[in-house]
Symmetry: C2
Subunit: 433 residues, 2 copies
């Protein structure tokens, strides 16, 4: 029994797990950059008050918080958005618009670990601020899809479920929900899959949605839209004016133009409970409904003001590593071995050559080649070549009885088995060529 | 005045700062991998007790610590070594030796921010466990030098100052320090530059080093060694048996063989106060003595046992980002602009072509090209090309009056000014070719 273990809900990354983490982070970073987003980062802890701005006092019980020696209340970050909002607010005038930022922070939440939720996890954040154009909402969704595709997922595996707060608000009001109950209705819809149907119906009734209206809303909410014609059909079928749907129809046009319509579905049951969303909202889900949401986001045009900045329209999303990894594993899309393979393995086949080893290893590394050698003192070439194989080296450089006197070594291509003699001075060009 | 600011002693990374951080982390990672180290990571917080194992109760005041809802005492990591020791101890039997690990964690210390010290910083950790060969000590030092060289530093800028606890112990004992005062003597030597000379001399006297012995020790400590002859000279000059120096002489041979002798100095004043070092100790310093140590490390053969693992010889070092960055800045070695340049900027020169923009942008990104476009609705090509220049795009793809009807665009090479017409379907091969 080990004396110490990793804290509950956290992970140790041994080399194989770390290589997978870097593979995922590499995909997040590559996709972000090619979509024109610039990387940012912030502190691992922030003033506790920063997290109350958008989430209220209720957030405190979910945070790991502490006081420093100056009695300042601090908390380990449970999300990146407040840091982003603070950073934008602080330099709003100096930043050219639109601001397109991404980050890949580790975040901590003091909640009970369970499937798909850990106490420390990674989250890819993508945010586009300074424009209210639906092109921005579509570009964020495109970026999420670009990442899913990059990892081998297809529309058969995952879908982006899209809604729009204004559209849902208009329909709910048209169906009888009073304006001052809309926020409650959003929160209820968000909890729909988490509470018993009876409780849901009872709550809905209190908000003005009786059983038959609720059924009508459900039909609208779960509509499937593929073309302009379908939007018209829906408007007609449910006796909703077309302009009630126009925000979603406009976003749909942009997504179609980006070529990702087949990845997208419209689902007005998606409202996302967080009060700060103001327009589009979307979640990425595994198609069968297995697992929690892979990603979630939307438009939040009021948030930068809440953090003391100027009025700044904004849209963005977050994608955690935990659920994404579960889905990739389930689909057989986790790559086999992503640890870096060695370029060269230097081995000593004759003890007279051992004095040359460090020098050759150092010269190859200085030339940028990933170079390994054995700490074993054996000169058994078979055993040493086995070690070379374990680090997946492309070449073995064999120091033999002639090396010390004649400054030559043998180079063995470990893929073809081909072997030839080379002067030590020629080694770098031979191996790089 | 902004409503919120980053906590004292922490940093916000806007895109330019983040690009520099990635540049530095990229160098750490590249150099680690080519030297055969594998990356690992651990949790951002650990049980508070984990940090008391090697540092005692005294460490607690330097930590950001807190309790979770299960009343477990936790702390944000102030260093990575305890996590590494825990991870090695937990899987010691399953890990093949030697274990060569690196990591680049963010660490937090609740100390007063000052030049070269922040409350949150990055630290490159390089550790080699499972062999007591001096080749391992030399390989770690080589890896540190390989990084310094990778960033443009030379032996004119920085030196590795090397000592060895056993050598210093033998000399101190030969000069009259009792065996049970050796640890106190190490701690005193470590504080030499931090306390007044008078206090140092008084404390040294108590340990058995009178004024003339201390001067003799100083001469040995600050010796300059370049060859075997010099080691012999020192032994003779100070009437020390050659075997008293043999650990350093053996390490020196290995460093010379790695081709980095000119980066290394021997300085027995370097003992590093931490009690857990058992053999070689070393620090990287700016040559003029400006700034704190850039890196520090050494051999710690007893540590894994302290964390409940099997007896495991080990050597390693840590290099923070803060002092390193100050030194690079001072030497003019900070690169100018390391933010990623765009491959392509797509611009709409005629409103009839706007309907094609998303599709072209999406197709280029899906092909891996870093593609930007303007959120401005102007069709003024001059203004749009200026925006293309700001993101350092190599190509502009111009959508014009013919684009919508004929599916053609103009491709402008922004380095040469050359411009030609291309079918939309040919765009990817044209831009990638």
């Amino acid at each position: 029994m080990a004396k110490f273990q990793a804290p509950k809900g956290t992970r140790d990354y041994y080399p194989a797990e770390m290589a997978w983490r870097r593979y995922l982070e590499g995909a997040w970073q590559r996709v972000s950059i090619r979509n024109g987003f610039e990387e940012v980062e912030g502190p691992i802890f922030e003033p506790l008050d920063l997290y109350k701005v958008k989430s209220g006092e209720g957030i405190v019980s979910e945070l790991f918080h502490f006081t420093d020696r100056g009695e300042r209340e601090l908390a380990i970050r449970p999300e990146f958005t407040p840091t982003l909002a603070r950073m934008v607010a602080e330099k709003a005038n100096a930043l050219s618009k639109p601001i397109k930022w991404f980050s890949m922070p580790n975040l901590c939440r003091a909640e009970r670990p369970q499937r798909g939720r850990l106490r420390e996890f990674l989250q890819w954040n993508v945010d586009l601020l300074g424009t209210d154009s639906p092109v921005a909402d579509a570009e964020c969704i495109y970026t999420a899809v670009d990442l899913l595709r990059e990892l081998g997922l297809t529309p058969r595996h995952v879908k982006v479920k899209i809604s729009h707060r204004d559209v849902v608000r208009r329909i709910l009001m048209r169906f009888g929900v009073a304006e001052d109950k809309i926020q409650d209705a959003f929160e209820l819809l968000d909890r729909r899959d988490k509470i018993p149907a009876e409780e849901f119906n009872e709550q809905a009734g209190k908000l003005g949605l009786d059983q038959s209206t609720l059924e009508r809303f459900n039909q609208v909410a779960r509509m499937r839209v593929g073309s302009q014609a379908a939007w018209d059909d829906i408007a007609e079928q449910f006796a909703i004016p077309q302009e009630d749907l126009e925000d979603l129809a406009a976003l749909h046009e942009q997504l179609k133009a980006f070529g990702i319509a087949e990845w997208c579905e419209y689902d007005m049951g998606i409202v996302r409970g967080l009060a700060y969303y103001t327009g589009s909202v979307f979640e990425v889900h595994e198609v069968s409904g297995a697992e929690r949401a892979i990603a979630g986001g939307g438009r939040y045009d009021k948030l930068i003001e809440m953090f003391g900045g100027p009025s700044t329209p904004a849209v963005g999303f977050g994608m955690g590593d935990v659920v994404l990894t579960l889905v990739l594993a389930d689909k057989g899309l986790l790559p086999d071995d992503v640890t870096p393979a060695a370029d060269v393995f230097v081995l000593v086949a004759d003890d007279s050559a051992r004095c040359k080893m460090n020098g050759i290893v150092g010269a190859l590394r200085a030339a940028g080649l990933h170079t390994r050698f054995s700490y074993k003192t054996t000169t058994n070439v078979g055993k040493l070549l086995k070690e070379a194989g374990q680090c997946r080296a492309r070449f073995a450089v064999i120091l033999d009885a002639k090396t010390d006197q004649q400054n030559t070594v043998s180079v063995k291509n470990l893929q073809t088995g081909e072997q030839s003699e080379t002067g030590i001075g020629e080694l770098v060009p031979v191996l790089k060529g």
